[in-house]
Symmetry: C2
Subunit: 232 residues, 2 copies
Amino acid sequence: MANPVYIKIVEDIKQKVNSAELKPGDTVPPEAALCKEYGVSRMTVRKGLAILVNEGYIFSVPGKGSYVQKPEVNKYTLLYDEMNNPINSVDKARLLEVNIIMPDEKLADELQTTRNKHVIMIRRLFYTDGAPVAYDNKYLLYSKGMPIVEKEIEQATFQEMVSNSMPIFALKKKISISAQMPNEEIKRYLNIYDELALLVVEQKLYNNENKPIGIGVTYYRGDYIKLQGYSE
Amino acid sequence: MANPVYIKIVEDIKQKVNSAELKPGDTVPPEAALCKEYGVSRMTVRKGLAILVNEGYIFSVPGKGSYVQKPEVNKYTLLYDEMNNPINSVDKARLLEVNIIMPDEKLADELQTTRNKHVIMIRRLFYTDGAPVAYDNKYLLYSKGMPIVEKEIEQATFQEMVSNSMPIFALKKKISISAQMPNEEIKRYLNIYDELALLVVEQKLYNNENKPIGIGVTYYRGDYIKLQGYSE
DNA sequence: CAGTGGTCTAGACCACAGC
DNA sequence: CTGTGGTCTAGACCACTGC
């Protein structure tokens, strides 16, 4: 028993929850009671409860007590890297086009900017074993320090493209995943002759004031990519 | 400034990280220094640092110090509910088949069971506005207390199917997402006459000893579903 | 050895719930 | 009012690191 006391408290309560001895909505014994039960000071008990709060097992209401939380059954941790996925990896990227453009109305709207502000457009192809596996299209609000040198852009992930002008920690991202059929242009780029589905991943990057700074769509050959996630 | 001191400490350090004044790998000032700087006791400083550890900003090494963490750029929180997604919801489910079967070798292997153990097979269709939008296929290890009453199964999510026999908190889940073309059977079920891609979501459920207790695959019409996630 | 973080105590005062 | 959780103190001892 090298474990600290608060870990014991955490494990005991987890076990009670997992065995349904404590059900969602039930009250956890008050801190004072746990102090007595384990013969420890209140700070030690609170450290244990803090861990349970963090892991989503319980929540506390000041003045009332601590309660067993309803589990968040629909939340998963998804691992997504533009150029690496569990069944395949991009080994080469080729720049099709990089341009500074004025956004059309739809794009200006999505980026919460105006039509007279510069936007960098990047179009790339990703390759695995010499074969094109994904078509990638990004739009970035132009700001100083951005890489517009082709060499720098070619192999960069979305994060890396903006990280020159802002620290990566301040980035918020949204992602949305869907399945589509390829249009003629994408069929050409990805050498698709038969029927093949695309996995489409849209990314939107925001700064820490929640202003969008870039959007991107990557179209993956369905036989190339598999995204994976987990919960607990 | 109604905020407690430790929140102030958290915000100050976050700001330093976000502004690149502290870069990944840099040392955070030792606790004793922060105590002096803020004129508070060590426990208060430690509470602040604990939050930063939890949020992935820093990590601590006993005997050495605390360091700024490299951000986990590839982790997203994905919201996935079999019957609800951001652009649509299932309003009706129809049971195609429920059966107790003996698994073939591949299935027995995936469920880490043997071919003489009972497995429940469930096949369903999900509907939105009267039209079929997804075909769902699940295999559950049979255990006592499981719902094999058709009424109960029809509208149940994967979690709910097993929650009678085990508390939902003890569930671990893996999910994998891909895009495929429908086969003839699925085309029939989902009324697909043209070219339409499927978004395929595989789920695998484990108990808290990491033994698989069920696997399921749901085939969604690509024009029906969009999965969404976020980071930060 | 001194400096670091990890654990823990035995108090304190506060704001808030509910009676 | 009592009981609850939230914040905070001023110490303590430990194990580990690096010199």
